[in-house]
């Protein structure tokens, strides 16, 4: 059975590193893997989405609506934007951080209120937590991606050692401590 994970967020938040790490882990398990992302224009602070699929044989490079098992969202509004990609009963892991998009900044639109509560009313499992604070606790706001992966790691069938070794081979040595710390904070978060 193919497993479908989506990583969504705002361009520049480090979603690409997260998908690279996942791809590596699944590959080591001997799965067929496809990781699909869009580069270019959407990276400039726009809404970004990455699809990670693994299983015995993966055909489509992308995940469509109603097909995702897990969505990891780096930002609350983006969680809401893509929630219809989840299957019924699927899992949403979301950072509760809010980043205003330009139409909200200019006052043309409003950032919806009580989004987390509204998401929790749907027929899905929602894990909302403050990944930004964990990243800052680890030493840098840039480690938000590892805090989120740490949280995701609880829902996937890999050992802590496997995750840590994948992190070691994916991030530059000087950021290794920071990323490891953020990962573990996310993994053990409430």
């Amino acid at each position: 059975m193919t497993k479908n994970i989506m990583i969504v967020g705002v361009g520049g938040q480090g979603t690409l590193l997260a998908s690279k790490l996942l791809g590596k882990l699944f590959l080591e398990k001997g799965h067929d893997v496809k990781v699909s992302e869009v580069h270019g224009m959407s990276q400039r602070g726009g809404s970004v989405v990455t699809y990670v699929r693994f299983g015995e044989k993966v055909h489509s490079p992308v995940i469509d609506k109603g097909q995702a098992d897990i969505i990891v969202s780096f930002e609350l509004l983006e969680a809401a934007r893509y929630v219809d990609y989840l299957k019924h009963g699927g899992k949403l892991i979301t950072n509760t951080q809010q980043i205003n998009p330009m139409p909200v900044i200019t006052g043309a639109m409003e950032y919806p209120e009580n989004l987390l509560e509204k998401l929790q009313k749907l027929d899905i499992e929602v894990e909302g937590f403050d990944a930004l604070s964990l990243a800052m606790q680890a030493g840098s706001v840039k480690a938000v991606n590892l805090a989120l992966l740490g949280r995701l790691s609880r829902s996937l069938d890999f050992t802590e050692e496997q995750w840590l070794s994948a992190i070691e081979t994916s991030v530059p040595e000087k950021f290794l401590d920071l990323n490891r710390k953020a990962f573990l904070l996310g993994r053990e978060s409430q």
């Binding site: 705002v10 520049g12 791809g23 590596k24 590959l27 067929d32 893997v33 496809k34 990781v35 699909s36 992302e37 869009v38 580069h39 270019g40 224009m41 959407s42 990276q43 400039r44 602070g45 726009g46 809404s47 993966v58 055909h59 489509s60 490079p61 992308v62 995940i63 469509d64 609506k65 109603g66 097909q67 509004l77 983006e78 809401a80 934007r81 929630v83 219809d84 990609y85 989840l86 299957k87 019924h88 205003n100 998009p101 330009m102 139409p103 909200v104 900044i105 200019t106 006052g107 639109m109 409003e110 950032y111 919806p112 989004l115 509204k118 998401l119 749907l122 027929d123 899905i124 706001v141």
Partner: protein, 578 residues
């Protein structure tokens, strides 16, 4: 060994393994990484050319000299390179020559949704179409074999979902190719009418032979299905979507070569199934071919020719049930891409807006200045169109717009196609002001070097084209440089140049805020007690500034300290230390 590779990386690997040793390209999403990955192999000479036409001609020259060569471009880049394309189809090659064109159905990062298969048909050049990284790698190698066997350039067509998807590919060693000595052959390489007339029949015969090859090649394959009531003909990512939806329910004819298309193979396939359905993105090229050879096929009436196809749509159109997702009844604000905090284009755009100018824009990050709140651009067409368009606009002399128009164009785009437009401005003397947004890089595609940066693709220092001298050399007498972080200086320069009745160039110079070499002073903040909530600082559309409880707040994680907003604050509330 199997590796998880981006489609573009796999294609680069295929070039490497095939013994390719010369690459010339111009960056363009989603094709850019092919050349960047290939440049990492020391055996391959790789370069950024100023534009796709130059790149293709350079690659042709290299194949003529006896080396397997390559060039890559996005779909609109092939428009620029179309001139050499149609004629190198006639001359053929010496060593193999492969061209990659990356289409962008759905326009993730493009200004139109053109289907490049039309070019293969029109230029009579064979075109291969991989559907994952493994095929990207193997088709790159096959393309060289075909190129040399049939004496033709070969096009490999990808799309965003192939180029930017990582999947598994088997890598092997490089096969070094001996040089093919160049021999003078004017009947083959000088395409003046007398010779070209003799080459055209050669091209037609080649297409006939390639069609024969397509009938039996394993890259055009039939996959059996349990239910023959429908037979599906497909290629590229659509093949992946069909397999996702139907697995092995219906028989599938998977085409790896989309020009020329087989005839007998399609007829035989159609004879074994009930109805033929063609699943292809954008135009109905395979479908039309089927109907032309007497095979009744449906496709576009089901799928349409707009936007990319996605798994659910393909499944639905093939009669499968599709699971619905959760419905959240909330209006979600859009999140369009924006110019980054500290982007040097912002200050300049603010001044253009303030002066209420008509702005003919171009292709690059600065296109983002067209959206609210800056809204400081009127047109975006193609590479270079700002400069040549401005000349026409000004010559036409629209009422009330004299002295109120400018063109904006990035440094890389100017080198690509802006120079010839500027020559026209100088030669035919229009009172046009061209603003070159020189951010010392090719920004939108992810920081590639260009002729004005002083470094080549491999990162080595090289000749740096001096923009001021270049503009003067083509005949522009008024050339000046401004710092886009300095609003007053920009305002003065723009007023003076649009106000004078002769051609002029303003170079707005400041490196891209995302370049690693740029050192920023660090975030500034708002002194809340001084802020009166007038929102003057909001006019520049900086993603780091927002209004919280009626006061401006600067996001310390985004702000780089460019101080453009500081210059807008009459209360002196912005700046200083946190």
């Amino acid at each position: 060994m199997k590796k998880l590779m981006l489609g573009n990386e796999a294609l680069a690997r295929g070039l490497y393994e095939a013994g390719c040793s010369f690459i010339s390209s111009y960056p363009g999403t989603p094709s850019t990484e092919i050349t960047e990955f290939a440049a990492k192999y020391p055996e391959i000479y790789a370069e950024w050319a100023p534009n796709e036409k130059v790149a293709m001609e350079a690659a042709f020259g290299a194949c003529l000299a006896g080396k397997r060569s390559f060039c890559a471009m996005k779909h609109v880049g092939l428009n620029v390179a179309a001139d050499p394309l149609f004629t190198i189809s006639y001359t053929g090659v010496n060593a193999g020559m492969v061209i990659c064109v990356a289409d962008d159905p759905g326009m993730h990062s493009s200004q139109n949704e053109q289907d490049s298969r039309h070019y293969a048909i029109a230029s009579k050049i064979p075109m291969l179409e991989p559907s994952d990284s493994a095929e990207a790698l193997s088709f790159a190698k096959l393309a060289y074999e075909l190129s040399e066997k049939f004496d033709t350039p070969v096009i490999v067509r990808t799309c965003t979902r192939i180029a930017h998807c990582q999947s598994l590919a088997e890598v092997s060693d490089r096969q070094e190719m001996p040089d093919r000595p160049y021999e003078k052959n004017i009947a083959k390489y000088i395409m003046m009418p007398g010779m070209a007339k003799k080459r055209h029949p050669v091209v037609e015969e080649r297409t006939r032979l390639l069609t024969e090859w397509a009938e039996t090649s394993p890259i055009n394959r039939i996959e059996e299905g349990r239910d023959g009531s429908i037979g599906i003909i497909t290629s590229s990512t659509c093949y992946d979507y069909v397999k996702e939806a139907c697995e092995d329910k219906y028989p599938v004819l998977k085409l790896g070569m989309v020009n020329p298309l087989p005839v007998k193979l399609i007829k035989d396939f159609a004879a074994k199934v009930g109805e033929v359905i063609v699943v292809e993105e954008l135009d109905g090229i395979i479908e039309e071919h089927c109907n032309n050879i007497g095979v009744r096929a449906r496709g576009k009436e089901l799928f349409g020719n707009i936007d990319e196809l996605l798994p659910n749509k393909v499944a639905q159109c093939l009669g499968m049930t599709v699971r619905e997702g959760e419905n959240l009844d909330v209006t979600i604000p859009t999140r369009p891409p924006v110019m980054c905090a500290g982007c040097p284009h912002r200050g300049l755009y603010y001044v253009l807006k303030k002066n209420n100018l008509t702005v003919l824009g171009d292709i690059g990050c600065y296109t983002l200045g067209a959206t609210a709140p800056l809204q400081a651009a009127d047109t975006t067409i193609c590479m270079g169109a700002s400069v040549s368009g401005l000349h026409g606009f000004n010559k036409a002399g629209a009422a009330g717009l004299a002295g109120k128009t400018v063109a904006v164009i990035g440094d890389s785009t100017f080198m690509h196609s802006g120079i010839t437009g500027l020559v026209n401005v100088a030669y035919n003397e229009s009172a046009s002001t061209v603003i070159i947004l020189d951010n010392s890089t090719t920004g939108m595609t992810g920081h590639q070097q260009n002729p004005t940066t002083g470094f080549n693709l491999k990162g080595d220092p090289c000749t740096k084209i001096d923009l001021e001298s270049l503009c003067r050399a083509v005949g522009i007498r008024r050339v000046r440089v401004v710092d886009p972080y300095d609003l007053e200086q920009c305002d003065k320069a723009i007023k003076e140049e649009v106000g004078c009745n002769e051609p002029s160039v303003i170079i707005s110079r400041r490196p891209c805020a995302l370049l690693k070499t740029v050192k920023h002073p660090g975030p500034i903040s708002v002194e809340s007690s001084k802020c009166i909530g007038c929102k003057a600082c909001m006019k520049i559309g900086c993603p780091a500034i927002s209004i919280v409880r009626k006061k401006a707040v600067i996001d310390q994680t985004q702000c780089v300290g460019c101080n453009v907003c500081t210059q807008l604050c009459r209360q002196n509330a912005i700046g200083g230390l946190k």
